[in-house]
Symmetry: C2
Subunit: 210 residues, 2 copies
């Protein structure tokens, strides 16, 4: 077994460390956050830090470094109070990844992605995405350890094809071809391996997919 210490990490070559530490937490969610400026200039960028915070009210968080790209996302969210979260699926990983480049104008056009709107909500959705969330900004929480921000938002809208929702409310992410991210630039497709009932003492989990 390889044993890597904090001292080893500190002394690593920068890109090697970036790749290692970005893959060490396991798989990450793969989403495009889209916003519009007050002047109507739209913006879209990959985020892999989107995290469930609570179901009732439905709160979602993501981590942002306000001093670096994609700073437009932060400014637009603060100015307009709304944004969208759009799942990246297998068919659009290349376009989604391209949004990480430092585009000067709308990333939608540069990335060959299309905007879509719903009535009464001014932030753009990514038309190509299969699962789309309309979010309202709730609060920003500074993370002093490394000058990042946790942005907390509330789910105002969910737009998706009905076929992705199972009877118990779960979204079938395999069917929707939603991908998972590892590291900085790897997109993975998925297949169910195990599903278990709510865990209770004395009742060792049985895989209901077997």
């Amino acid at each position: 077994m390889e044993h890597i210490t904090l001292k080893d990490i500190e002394q690593m070559e920068k890109i090697f460390r970036l790749n290692l530490i970005n893959s060490v937490t396991g798989f990450k969610s793969a989403n495009l956050i889209a916003t519009s400026s007050e002047e109507g200039i739209t913006n879209v960028a990959v985020f892999s830090s989107i995290t469930h915070l609570g179901s009732n009210p439905p709160f979602i968080g993501f981590v942002l470094r306000p001093t670096t790209v994609p700073r437009h996302t932060y400014k637009n969210i603060k100015d307009t109070g709304i944004y969208t979260i759009n799942h990246i699926h297998q068919g659009i990983t290349d376009k989604a990844h391209y949004s990480s480049a430092k585009h000067e104008n709308s990333e939608f056009e540069a990335c060959q992605l299309n905007e879509e709107y719903i009535e009464g909500f001014a932030a753009p959705f990514v038309k190509e995405s299969h699962i789309k969330l309309g979010m309202s900004f709730q609060e920003e929480i500074p993370i002093p350890s490394n000058d990042t921000l946790l942005i907390v938002g509330k789910v105002e809208h969910i737009v998706l094809d009905k076929k992705y929702i199972a009877k118990d409310g779960q979204i079938d992410l395999d069917l929707a071809e939603t991908v998972a991210i590892s590291g900085l630039n790897n997109y993975h497709k998925t297949a169910i391996q195990g599903s278990y009932a709510y865990a209770r003492v004395g009742d060792f989990p049985k895989n209901v997919r077997n």
Copy 2:
């Protein structure tokens, strides 16, 4: 297209809402957090909110609701200042899932998982896990929106088989059979779909896995 509003979400049956909102962010990381009390009673629990915060220093966060189970995890981290994060792989999803039950004694024994230690670090690792992190507690950040906490830790140790680390530092999570979680009780295996170079303007991403 189905359009679900916040009002619809608020009026949903509780379990349906839990399942829907827990799957709406996409795939989640699948890890076991293990701790030991000051008296040496060990504890292990599934967490799907573990998130990369930064690479240098290597910071990782996760979300915890201190007023509910697994409260042992929180108390032990605060008391001892250390914990471990252990990837869940395909071979242990049933054992890992069982840690969610409200066990009274050590979850290690109840879940048929084994403890493993490294010199100079008192928190237990999960022996069966393929990728293991030894963490030091850094800070806790209240999330006022829903009374949860973001726990920030620093990576002190990484223990894994060398074969999982690629030349560029990335961990091959497919090879390590690390799973991804959707919703509350689904574990997914993965396969690479696309890998792209660092995105630059004018250079549309090409999939290096094709």
